[in-house]
């Protein structure tokens, strides 16, 4: 079993806890300061989305080791309302909360791999990965 650590997202403070966890793991894995900032920012966006739109959920951080490559995986999961139109939420500037609408498209650009699965009425799972270069 690979390393995995999770933070439950229930309130604003959990967003801080999730990104601190991510940053610590990124540091341990040997990511540089820019990648650490990318990973921390992506986690912050995903955790805040859970808090804002689903009310609660979890963010898990995994260390990856595939074919001699190391990396970090973020799994953001909730049982919230789900996303009706995924293409729409991936557009820059689209927001339903009065924010900047940068969260999801931004997090995707900050990470190497990014995948959303969402079922309206059941919840959303976002998996994002960053590989160590």
């Amino acid at each position: 079993m690979e390393f995995q650590s999770c933070v439950k997202i229930i309130n604003e403070w959990d967003i801080v806890a999730a990104r601190q966890l991510g940053r610590n793991v990124a540091k341990e894995l040997g990511f540089g300061t820019v990648d650490q900032a990318r990973i921390t920012t992506a986690i912050s966006e995903l955790a805040r989305n859970i808090y804002l739109y689903a009310g609660q959920g979890s963010v898990c951080i995994e260390k990856l080791n595939e074919d001699g490559k190391s990396g970090l995986k973020i799994i953001a999961e909730d049982q919230g309302p789900g996303i009706e139109d995924i293409r729409r939420v991936m557009e820059d500037g689209y927001t339903t909360s009065g924010g900047l609408g940068a969260g999801l498209p931004g997090a995707k650009r900050l990470m190497d791999e990014f995948d959303i699965e969402s079922i309206p009425g059941e919840g959303t799972t976002i998996v994002a990965m960053k590989w160590l270069r």
Partner: protein, 118 residues
């Protein structure tokens, strides 16, 4: 915890020394506007040298602080944006185009003096 706001002649100085959570960021926004009102400050320098990442929420708060202060008649300069912060902000798609920035506190104060025209 609240972020201290110092008065220096007709300016306010803020150095953000720790990672901002949402509540602290919003509290700061309010505190700063009250302090501008209270002291009739013309300018504000916010130094974020110690901040190693900014997400879209904090970016929005900083951008709003800039616009709100402007509305009240005070200029805000943000200083000390780290390379990693600049890179991630642009990748996020946030350019904070209208916000005045400077490399460090010293240059920030100089810029503020220029902006205020003396």
């Amino acid at each position: 915890m609240r972020i201290p706001i110092l008065k220096l002649y007709d300016c306010l100085l803020v150095s953000i020394q720790w990672e901002l959570d949402d509540v602290t960021a919003l509290q700061f926004q309010e505190d700063l506007l009250h302090k501008i009102h209270e002291t009739s400050a013309n300018g504000v320098v916010i130094d974020i040298t110690s901040i190693d990442f900014i997400d879209s929420f904090i970016a929005k708060v900083l951008g709003d602080v800039f616009s709100m202060s402007k509305l009240m008649g005070a200029k805000v300069v943000i200083t000390g944006i780290q390379p990693a912060v600049a890179i991630t902000l642009i990748e996020l798609g946030i350019s904070l185009d209208d916000v005045l920035t400077a490399l460090d506190l010293e240059k920030g104060l100089e810029k503020l003096q220029q902006e205020l025209g003396d």
